[in-house]
């Protein structure tokens, strides 16, 4: 997608994570929402991108184009259980970032919260 679409008009179609989150909520599923709130260097997804996760670990959207989604999904399970939001940070300076695969040279901060 072009840069135009990154700033103007995040998708409002079927594959839109926030629309999916609303559908899941209406279907009675517990939903966590992860949001990229800061990036440094060559982060693959722009600030404001979402990943939505349900209690079974199903997820839609992306916060890093696949690099750290696994770790975010795991944290989301705790956030869903406890209800308190948390801030996650991934980057090459961080051992865990290497482990989870963010080897592309960027750093990202991801806010994970429960819907409701």
């Amino acid at each position: 997608m072009s840069d135009t679409n990154e700033q103007f008009g995040k998708q409002t179609r079927q594959d839109d994570p926030l629309m999916i989150a609303e559908d899941w909520m209406k279907a009675g599923r517990d939903v966590a929402i992860a949001t990229v709130v800061e990036t440094w260097g060559s982060a693959p997804r722009p600030v404001g991108s979402h990943l939505v996760i349900d209690a079974e670990g199903n997820f839609e959207g992306s916060v890093s184009g696949g690099c750290v989604e696994g770790a975010v999904v795991a944290e989301a399970a705790d956030v869903l259980a406890q209800g308190t939001p948390r801030m996650l940070e991934f980057g090459v300076a961080d051992e865990t970032a290497w482990e989870v695969g963010l080897s592309c040279g960027g750093r990202i901060k991801v806010f994970v919260e429960r819907l409701g």
Partner: protein
Amino acid sequence: MDPLSLKKLNALRRERRAAILLTELTDGRDRVIREGDPVAGSLGEAVARAFRSGRSGAVEIDGNSFFLNVHLPPPRLVVIGAVHISQALAPMARIAGFDLTIIDPRTAFASPDRFPGVDLHAEWPDEVLKSAPLDAYTALAALTHDPKIDDPAILAALKAECFYIGALGSRKTHAKRVERLMAAGAKSEAVARIEAPIGLDIGASTPAEIAVAVLGSVIAALRSRGLMAKDGTGKEQAA
């Protein structure tokens, strides 16, 4: 996230309205701000800046950390006239990331064979715009040369405050158009926003080159939104 915030935000996005989801990062409390909603102080300035740039980001205000997630509608380009220029403009606009609609009541022009895969309407602009109204995130290019078709669409675009309005025709043609639009009740400062002759001044001579010039103007207007509102033309700032 508050479920009510999510519902409100998604409803605004479906309606093609600009909105910001403001989240306090310390406790996760959030609220939805629509474009034009009053927000006081430094936070208000950050909100205005975010609407203008379309850029989401975190801000620190009075020791509190906020995240502003900006949701602007996808930019649309509505072209009046299924003409030669439009045939070149359709694929270019799609590549540049615009949702494109072409309207022309002349069925010989608005034939699907000439515009494969394009959202094409062989109807009068008024009829089409009734079901898909113009808005501030839509650009209008009037290309038919026929006042009966172009004028009502231009009037609708002025009323909807489209971020860009351009009309094909020489200065002389445009002078007559301005007279007609004013007679139809348009205000002079609004009429002054119409770009005519249409498109960036790049010496375009073929229909495809004119399409490039038009798309260039549309992008310049999109990227100078807000600045444009201040001086009425956006030309100086956009340059």
